[in-house]
Symmetry: C2
Subunit: 292 residues, 2 copies
DNA sequence: CGCTTACATTACATTTATTCATGGATAGCC
DNA sequence: GGCTATCCATGAATAAATGTAATGTAAGCG
C-alpha cells in the first residue's frame, strides 16, 4: 500500500539530493532507506529512481510520486496540527440546533462575539431535525439545543439563559392597539400569524387560546420574521412574538405591542447540552456568554 | 505519525458502522483494530470515538479525520492506479525539447495523432535549456530532443526523421524574387531576419554567408514565425526558412522562395533520445510516427 | 592510484502489528 | 428478569515489519 512514509521518502531524497543525506534527515541509517526504497519499487512494480553512478534520479513514475508527495504531505501535516488543537481543546465544532424560530435573531448576537473569542471553533446552526431537538442532541446531530421547552432526560442538561415575555404584535392602528392587555376572546375575529410549527408548540394556543376555548378567525403561517411583521404592520393579522424582538421592529413598522392576558405569558429560553460535553470549555464559554 | 492506514480505519469503521464489521472488511481481527484505534487515539492525544454502550461514535476530532480520509484516500487510490499504468508501460510523460525554432509547426502535426494513440502519455514541450538541448537530454530535463544538430555522445542516440531544404523567403515584389538561386553577395544589402539564436547556429551564416565572407546590411531577430513572415511580406527583410514551412505561408502572404546557393542548403531534423530509454514503447512509437 | 563518498547487500536485532484467548458490557428476546 | 448474541477491550504470545551493523561495490576526484 502506498503510504505516507513512502511519500515522505520520495520528497526527502529529492530535497536532500541523496539517499544518505535523506537518511540523516529522517533519523535512519542509509541502509534502512535503501531497503525501504527497494521494497517500495518492488511493491509498485516500477522503478522510481534511476541509479546513475552514485546518483539517484527520478523516473517519470518517480516524478509523479514526487508531485503527489508535495500535494498530500502538507495536507497531512496541516491535519496533524489541527488535531493537536483538538487535543488541547482549542479546536472544536459547535453545532447548534434551534427549536425556537424568533431566537435566531438573539442567537446571532451571541454567536458573533463567540466567534471572535474562539477563532478555532467552527459554529454550525441547524433548524430541521428528524426526531426533534432532543433527539438531535441525543443522536449527536447537534451539540447544543436552543429551545423554550427543556426536557429533563438522563444524559442531558438544560440551563435557562434568557427570560422574556411573549406579547402580541398589532398594527398601531389596530382596534386593540390601545389595550393594556388582551383576553382570549379579543382574538376570536382576528387573523393569527405564526411560524409554521404545530399548534401544541405555540404558547399562544397552549397558554392562552386553548384554555379559554377560543379559536381565531384564521390561522396563517409564515417562515420569515420580516415578512410576518410586514403583514402585521399592514393590518393583515396579529402575531405573537417575544417582546424584545418585537421592540426592535416597533418604530420602523409602526407596531403596537400588547400583553397576552392580565399577567402576560412569560417564557424562558434554555440551552441544552449532553452531560458528557459539560467539560468542553468552548461549550461552557458559549453558554456563559449567552447568559450575559 | 498520522498514516494512510489510520484514515482507512476511520473511513471503514464509519462505513461499516461497527469496529467488528470494519475488521472483517479490512481482513483483520476485531482485536487488531481495537488495538489500532486505541494506539491512534493515544498518539493523537485526543479521543476519536466515543464508546457509547456497544457503539462507536465519532468525536468532533473524529469527524474531522473522517473528512480528511474522504478527501485524501481517493487521491491515494487514484495515484496507485496510475502507478500501475506506469508499471505496465501504459503511462508516461514525454518531455520534448526543441532546438529548432521553425520545427514547432512540424511538431504539432506529429504530436496530435500521437496524443490520440497514447491517451495516457502526457506530452510536454520545452524550448529553453540551461545547458543546451544535449545537456537537457543528459540531465533528464527532457526525454526527446528535436534538433538539426545531432551530437554523437555515449548514452545518446539520434535518428533523422525529416529532410528539408533551407531556402530564403522574400517578398514577391523583391528585386531578387525571380532568381533561381542566390549567391552570398546578393544579401550584402539586405536586412536579414532570423529567430533569436546565436549566429553559429544559423545555417545561413555557417553554410552560406560566412564561407563567402559576407555580412548582411542588418540582422534583426524575431521570436514569432508569423510576425517574421509578415515583415518579409511587407518588404522589410528576408528570412531563411525550411521550404516546407515557407510554402504553407507562400500564397497567403505573397512570398517568393529562393534557393540559397547553386545546390541549396539541405538539412535534416534529428530526434535524440537517451539510449536507456530506447525500450520505452511510447517513445519508440513517437519516433516512428515522426518518421512517417 | 588511492581516497572519499554513495548506494547495495547480508545477517541479525528490535520494534511494531497482529492474533488468540478471554472478559465485561449492552441491547434484544423470550 | 434472565438468557443470549453481539460488541468492544485487554494481556500475553507470536508473526511481521522495520531497523542496524558490518561489509561490499562502484563512481568521482585530486
Amino acid at each position: 500500500m502506498l503510504d505516507r512514509s513512502h511519500l515522505l521518502v520520495v520528497r526527502t531524497i529529492e530535497q536532500q539530493g541523496s539517499l544518505t543525506a535523506a537518511a540523516r534527515q529522517l533519523c535512519l541509517t542509509q541502509s534502512a532507506l535503501s531497503h525501504t526504497i527497494r521494497k517500495l519499487e518492488t511493491h509498485l512494480g516500477t522503478a522510481i529512481w534511476l541509479r546513475e553512478g552514485r546518483q539517484l534520479r527520478l523516473t517519470p513514475a518517480g516524478r509523479y510520486l514526487l508531485g503527489l508527495a508535495n500535494r498530500l504531505l502538507p495536507q497531512l501535516e496541516y491535519a496533524e496540527a489541527r488535531l493537536r488543537q483538538f487535543a488541547r481543546g482549542e479546536r472544536g465544532t459547535l453545532r447548534i440546533g434551534m427549536e425556537c424560530h424568533p431566537c435566531y435573531q438573539w442567537l446571532i448576537n451571541v454567536i458573533s462575539p463567540f466567534l471572535s473569542a474562539w477563532p478555532d471553533v467552527d459554529v454550525d446552526v441547524k433548524q430541521k431535525f428528524l426526531f426533534g431537538g432532543i433527539g438531535a442532541l441525543l443522536e449527536h446531530e447537534i451539540d447544543l439545543l436552543v429551545t423554550p421547552d427543556p426536557f429533563n432526560k438522563a444524559g442531558l442538561k438544560f440551563e435557562p439563559v434568557f427570560d422574556f415575555e411573549q406579547i402580541l404584535v398589532l398594527s398601531a392602528s389596530h382596534r386593540l392597539a390601545g389595550q393594556f392587555y388582551l383576553n382570549a376572546e379579543d382574538l376570536r375575529d382576528e387573523v393569527l400569524l405564526t411560524y409554521p410549527v404545530s399548534v401544541d408548540r405555540l404558547d399562544i394556543y397552549t397558554q392562552f387560546l386553548t384554555p379559554a376555548g377560543i379559536v381565531p378567525r384564521l390561522h396563517k403561517t409564515c417562515e420569515s420574521t420580516d415578512v410576518m411583521l410586514q403583514l402585521v404592520s399592514s393590518g393583515r393579522g396579529v402575531a405573537p412574538f417575544p417582546a424584545w424582538l418585537a421592540e426592535t421592529y416597533q418604530e420602523r413598522l409602526n407596531l403596537a405591542l400588547v400583553r397576552l392576558g392580565q399577567s402576560g405569558i412569560h417564557k424562558q429560553i434554555f440551552l441544552g447540552i449532553r452531560e458528557s460535553d459539560q467539560a468542553l470549555d468552548y461549550l461552557r464559554a458559549f453558554i456563559d456568554s449567552a447568559r450575559e
